[in-house]
């Protein structure tokens, strides 16, 4: 029954019977902590989602989740986790328009390459590729490359392809333009038909199998393929710099978030300081009536932590809700083609990084608990006679 009194006192601090000044102070703190937590959650959600979005673009359009570097015709084991296998040829090429030229990465792919998932990552111009009726080989350029070359659909471009010290020139027609939404990828990737690469380079073409694998099974599938004696690399090995940058950015942002959470946790102790300062007389009176420091500290600790946990809950929910509605805002920004945002991926699926959010919130709760406990040391220093002196 002893627990009834602390809850009675906590109820008075937080409840409708508390003074309007205390209510205002608590509401202000709830608002402040919620806004900070919402910003932290939103920022982490944004960074992680964008990183995953970029990684996904690279995996789907650049190299696949896994690459099996074996000769065409090598059987790839059928595993439930592998949902797409494509034989791909790739080389580097100079591409010439009548006025400009660029060095690009050329991928030769089968018609089935652009499956539903890959198409989901791209925006095509609304033109049927086969409707051009040209006998020239067709290439698929990004809008970014087309812009630099000053060409459009139906225009001709020349390719000077390089593979294993062999140069192959080829005149092509721009069949269509795509936009993956990520400039870094679009700036150097073009597609052509696999048969063209095969015809031009024969066995000298750099071919490999691109595998799309369920996200949570990449390592396991890789091990199993390597167990079969196949030479396998993953997308992050093929794009080491990009993968490292993405991971470093994520870790750095998480680190910054944790530091902000620590500062926020420290700030929360200010709330307990303010509450104690406001209630000095009441605390002295409770102590005079026989309440020990432990009881008083327990009441104020619980009060502040309830406010903190409630604020964290509100802030987290707000941050996630804001993040989940990010799509429409990003689509709006992407459609505006704002130059400052051109290096960012603005079209990605929002994912909730539960572990990262849990880490940030855990640090926040831990730091605030410790700092509140630290600030509550002053309860012992409140002289009992202050209750009488204030009158």
């Amino acid at each position: 029954m002893r627990t009834t009194l602390p809850w009675m006192l906590i109820g008075r601090k937080l409840g409708i019977h508390s003074s309007s000044a205390a209510k205002r102070r608590i509401l202000f703190n709830v608002l402040l902590i919620s806004v900070v937590v919402a910003a932290l959650v939103f920022a982490q959600l944004f960074v992680v989602s964008m990183s995953r979005g970029i990684a996904n673009k690279y995996a789907l359009l650049g190299n696949g989740h896994l690459q099996v570097h074996e000769m065409a015709g090598t059987p790839i084991p059928t595993l439930d986790e592998i949902y797409d296998v494509q034989l791909v040829a790739q080389t580097y090429s100079l591409i010439y328009s009548p006025s400009k030229n660029l060095m690009v990465r050329l991928k030769g792919v089968e018609g089935s390459y652009f499956n539903e998932q890959r198409r989901g990552e791209l925006t095509f111009l609304p033109t049927d590729l086969d409707a051009k009726g040209s006998s020239l080989p067709q290439v698929l350029l990004s809008t970014s490359i087309a812009g630099k070359l000053e060409v459009g659909q139906g225009d001709r471009v020349a390719l000077m392809m390089i593979s294993n010290n062999t140069l192959r020139p080829q005149l092509c027609i721009v069949a269509n333009l795509y936009d993956s939404g990520y400039k870094e990828l679009d700036d150097n990737l073009i597609f052509c038909d696999f048969s063209l690469m095969e015809k031009l380079f024969s066995t000298k073409a750099d071919t490999y199998y691109e595998l799309l694998v369920a996200d949570n099974a990449i390592s396991e599938v890789r091990s199993r393929l390597e167990g079969e004696g196949l030479s396998v690399t993953s997308w992050d090995q093929e794009n080491f710099a990009v993968a490292t940058n993405l991971e470093t950015s994520r870790q750095a942002v998480l680190g910054v978030m944790v530091v902000v959470a620590i500062l926020c946790g420290y700030f929360i102790s200010e709330l307990s300081r303010e509450l104690i300062e406001d209630d000095k007389r009441r605390i002295a009176l409770l102590k005079l009536l026989g309440a020990g420091n432990t009881l008083v500290r327990g009441v104020y600790f619980t009060t502040v932590m309830l406010v903190t946990l409630f604020s964290i809950l509100v802030g987290t929910a707000s941050g996630i809700l804001l993040g989940l509605n990010l799509g429409s805002m990003l689509s709006f920004l992407a459609a505006r083609s704002i130059p400052a945002l051109s290096f960012y991926l603005l079209d990605f699926t929002v994912v909730i990084p539960y572990l990262d959010i849990a880490t940030i919130l855990l640090v926040l709760v831990l730091v605030s608990s410790l700092s509140v406990l630290w600030s509550l040391r002053r309860v012992a220093k409140i002289p009992l006679l202050i209750s009488a002196r204030f009158d």
């Binding site: 102590k287 026989g290 009881l295 009992l384 209750s387």
Partner: protein, 232 residues
Amino acid sequence: MTKSNELLLLKAVSKSFPATARGGEPIEILDAIDLALSPATSMAITGKSGSGKSTLLQISAGLLSCETGEVLFDGKRLDTLDDGRLSRIRSTCMGFIFQSSLLLDDFTALENVTVPAMIKGLGEREARSKALALLESVGLGDRLGHKSDQLSGGERQRVAIARALVNEPLVLFADEPTGSLDERNAAIIEDMLFALVAEKQVALMLITHNMPFASRCDQVYRLHNRKLEVIR
């Protein structure tokens, strides 16, 4: 209880305060005071304003430390006890009434009296029932749900008396309990205080400069020039 059967014993207690908050030559308030209060007896300390009466009460109740001397409560030296044990003694053995009622503002009269009983460890129901009985005995049965600012000065002081007695203390420390009341209310509180103290067999240490009030106690002292003089 000590062998001498004293509930409260002060031995050669001296106290001084710095002249200013920053220090300076100390001002001596009490000089080698000896005092003994037996259970269920009453004692009044009188004296001029600023003579150190309240300081003596605060030292006796362990609210203030003395520089030299000893304060023994029920045979225990108060200055050697930790916060937990001191709190326990305050909760179970001591009751306080000050010139101002010092009620918890946002609590009702009933809750104000219930809180100390709950601090002592009583369940809410039991605490409320004891508080209710005491508030009825001080004539506030119809003011249970009123908060501090809805009560008159006399009523607030009656709540303070009920609060001080709810845990059935061994001693009641009363520092000018009628000091802020008009004559009529002061008389009511005086009668009520002595009736309850007698009924509940509580020792009383009363600080007052009102001689008629003080003379109702078993022992009367006057604090003068830092020393206690026996009046009766």
